[in-house]
Each structure stands twice: as structure tokens, then as C-alpha cells.
């Protein structure tokens, strides 16, 4: 429900990239939304057109990829995918002593530009 703030931060990053890489327009913005990022992909997609209005990013399409939670077990060392974001235990030995190695963040993956 805070996705408009997040969408505005995303637009800011795209603009910075535009200046750095010197391109004129953006066709497509691809982001990965981690299941434990606290960001809802659908709400972000809803807010994105509002956030780009009147900016150099206007007209771009947002592509949202869902990123599952990946865990590394501190007991047996196995890496596994969490079945649910709220079930944080090792897929191999079922230990709860796991470290989250992916799925915590919202990541700007790529831009298709002209």
C-alpha cells in the first residue's frame, strides 16, 4: 500500500540511468519483486503509470517478475526455495536456522531503451 512511494523511487532510478547511459526514452522497465520485499507487484503495476506521468519515463511499460524466497541452511548448507514466504525452513533438512539469500528486495533488472 506504500507502492506509490516505491514506484516514485523506481522512476528516480530509471531517470538516473537515463542520464548516465544517455538514451532518449524507455520502452520497458523490468523489476523483480521479492516475496518478502514488502512490495505488492500488482499494486506497484497500478501505481507505475501515475508515477511516470510527466517524467522522461512516461510511456514505459512495467514488467513485474515475482521472485520467490531462496534460503541457505545454516545447518546443512543446502540452498532451497521457500514453499511460502512465511515458511522459512530448509527444504532439505527442515531446519529453521536459515539465511534468506533472495526474495527480500525489489530489484530493477533491466530497461529496454531507444
Amino acid at each position: 500500500m506504500h507502492e506509490l512511494s516505491v514506484a516514485m523511487a523506481l522512476v528516480e532510478q530509471v531517470r538516473e540511468c537515463m542520464e548516465r547511459e544517455k538514451f532518449a526514452s524507455v520502452r520497458q522497465v523490468t523489476v523483480s519483486v521479492g516475496a518478502l520485499s514488502g512490495v505488492d507487484g500488482r499494486a506497484l503495476a497500478f501505481c507505475f503509470p501515475l508515477a511516470i506521468e510527466g517524467t522522461p519515463v512516461a510511456g514505459a511499460e512495467l514488467i513485474v517478475e515475482e521472485l520467490p524466497v531462496r534460503l541457505r541452511c545454516m545447518a546443512c548448507g543446502t540452498e532451497s526455495e521457500a514453499v511460502e514466504p512465511c515458511l522459512l525452513y530448509c527444504g532439505s533438512c527442515a531446519s529453521g536456522q536459515v539465511e534468506i539469500i533472495a526474495g527480500n528486495d525489489l530489484i530493477l533488472r533491466s530497461l529496454e531503451v531507444t
Binding site: 500500500m1 506504500h2 507502492e3 506509490l4 512511494s5 516505491v6 523511487a9 523506481l10 528516480e12 532510478q13 540511468c17 547511459e21 538514451f23 520502452r27 520497458q28 523490468t30 523489476v31 518478502l36 520485499s37 514488502g38 512490495v39 505488492d40 507487484g41 500488482r42 499494486a43 506497484l44 503495476a45 497500478f46 501505481c47 501515475l50 511499460e61 512495467l62 514488467i63 513485474v64 517478475e65 515475482e66 514466504p85 512465511c86 515458511l87 522459512l88 525452513y89 529453521g96 536456522q97 534468506i100 528486495d105 525489489l106 530489484i107 530493477l108 533488472r109 533491466s110 530497461l111 529496454e112 531503451v113 531507444t114
Partner: protein
């Protein structure tokens, strides 16, 4: 109500889950057939979208560290008892640990008024319509918190009452604390895993109401441990004072 909101409408959303056609390279040859469109290129990135907030949060943390202040960020749903816990906490720490408080609400300074007269400087942030505090809002107000004598050692941030959005924003705190009242249901940690996963400390509030409820203590503790196995759990009632000592000891340990 929430300016940042849009989720209800957003849930009918346009392309939030369109992961079937996600791979941007499919459009790479548009120019073969469409003379109007310029040839495109794809720039690969791996930037964290929240990095700006997180950089400011790191600056806030450094500012606090330089002054020997530890900060906690209290997050819960509205009405879980953050402000009452804060009132009792400030009363008990008065004369023992110098405290400062930032309270976030959409509107009004009611909470800041409630917290006056307990020996702590209180700053109210009215977020207007935003459903959370962010690191910039907090950073702007930090300098106001220090009194002339500079005895502050603990900053308590009472976030906007909301179990979802505040979890996504690091404010520069040292410890995120999730509050859960016994009237809310034992399975809340599993329903809202982002907050409870990120909170090493959980305070179960309104413990005096347990005799009137079918509260299942072990299932609540199991739900907390499921998303955060190492969570430190306090069960207390700010109203009766039950369990407050352990909480106060924890805060004193934090600043020593």
C-alpha cells in the same frame, strides 16, 4: 484514506503477474517490421529500488552511532498499544536512560501530547496521507531530538500504525520491534511475514486480556518462530505492568 494506497483497485491490476511474457528480448526485432519505431537496446541492471531510502537510513544510523544513541522502531497495527507501552516505558526509564521519541501518525499530534512530561523530547511527524515513515522523514527531524545536555541514549520511533508498509522502510534504527496484541490473533506473524521476519524482537501486548480470550500462547510463539526462529519475545501488559520489567531490562541492556 491512504495516498500511497491503490491496492484495492490495483488488485484488479493490469500486468502485475504477467510473468508469462516477461522476457524483454521478445521485442528486440520490432524494427524489422515497424519503420516508425527506433531500434532499441536492453540495459541490464541489478539495482535495489529502495537503495535511496536505505542510504539515508545508513546515514541516520551513523548520526545516531556518533552520538552514542541506540534506536528502536516500533511497528504494529493501529490500536495494538504502542503509545501506552511508550508512556509506561518512558516513565520507568526516566532518570535511568535519557530517551527521545519520534511518533508518526497520519494526522494530529495527539500521541506527542500524550507522551509529554516524561522526561523525553518528543517529535511528532504527521505523514498526512502516507502510511509509513521513511528514512528521509526521520533524518530531517533527528537534530531536533537532542537536548542541550545531550544525555539521550535511546531513541524510540513509534511508526504509523500499519503492519504492512512500515516493514519495507529501514529508518536507521538498530532494532525493529513488532508489536502484536492478544486481541489480534495468534497467527498474525504468519499472515504478515515481512514485518515479523524483519523484527528480531516481538512484544505481545495487552496480556491482561488473556483471561478473557481463548489465547493460545504456544501457537502464537510457534507462528513467530516460524518466520523468525531467533525472535526474542516479550509478553506484557502496559496497563497492569505485568512483564514490563523484562522489557525495560532489555532496553537498558541495549544502551549499555
Amino acid at each position: 484514506m491512504c495516498m500511497d494506497c491503490g491496492c484495492e483497485v490495483g488488485n484488479t491490476g493490469r500486468h502485475g503477474h504477467d510473468h508469462t511474457h516477461h522476457h524483454g528480448h521478445g521485442h528486440g526485432h520490432d524494427h524489422d517490421h515497424d519503420p516508425v519505431q527506433l531500434p532499441g537496446r536492453t540495459i541490464s541492471l541489478a539495482t535495489r529500488v529502495m537503495s535511496r531510502n536505505d542510504e539515508q537510513a545508513a546515514r541516520n544510523r551513523r548520526w545516531l552511532d556518533e552520538r552514542g544513541i541506540r534506536a528502536i522502531n516500533l511497528i504494529s497495527s493501529p490500536g495494538a498499544g504502542k503509545t501506552l507501552l511508550l508512556e509506561r516505558t518512558l516513565e520507568r526509564l526516566q532518570g535511568r536512560v535519557g530517551c527521545a521519541v519520534i511518533v508518526g501518525d497520519l494526522q494530529t499530534d495527539h500521541d506527542a501530547q500524550r507522551l509529554q512530561g516524561r522526561g523525553a523530547g518528543v517529535v511528532q511527524i504527521e505523514t498526512r496521507n502516507a502510511c509509513h515513515l521513511d528514512a528521509v522523514m526521520v533524518g530531517e527531524r533527528l537534530p531536533e531530538l537532542l537536548s542541550d545536555h545531550g544525555k539521550e541514549r535511546l531513541l524510540i520511533i513509534e511508526n504509523v500504525g500499519n503492519l504492512v508498509c512500515p516493514a519495507a522502510f529501514d529508518l536507521g534504527e538498530h532494532v525493529k520491534v513488532a508489536l502484536l496484541s492478544v486481541t489480534e490473533g495468534e497467527d498474525k506473524p504468519v499472515k504478515y511475514p515481512v514485518l515479523f521476519q524483519r523484527s528480531p524482537v516481538v512484544v505481545v501486548t495487552k496480556w491482561d486480556l488473556v483471561p478473557h480470550l481463548d489465547w493460545d500462547r504456544s501457537s502464537c510463539r510457534a507462528a513467530i518462530r516460524q518466520v523468525r526462529p531467533d525472535a526474542r519475545i516479550f509478553e506484557l501488559s502496559a496497563r497492569t505492568g505485568f512483564g514490563l520489567e523484562a522489557w525495560i531490562d532489555f532496553l537498558e541492556d541495549l544502551v549499555t
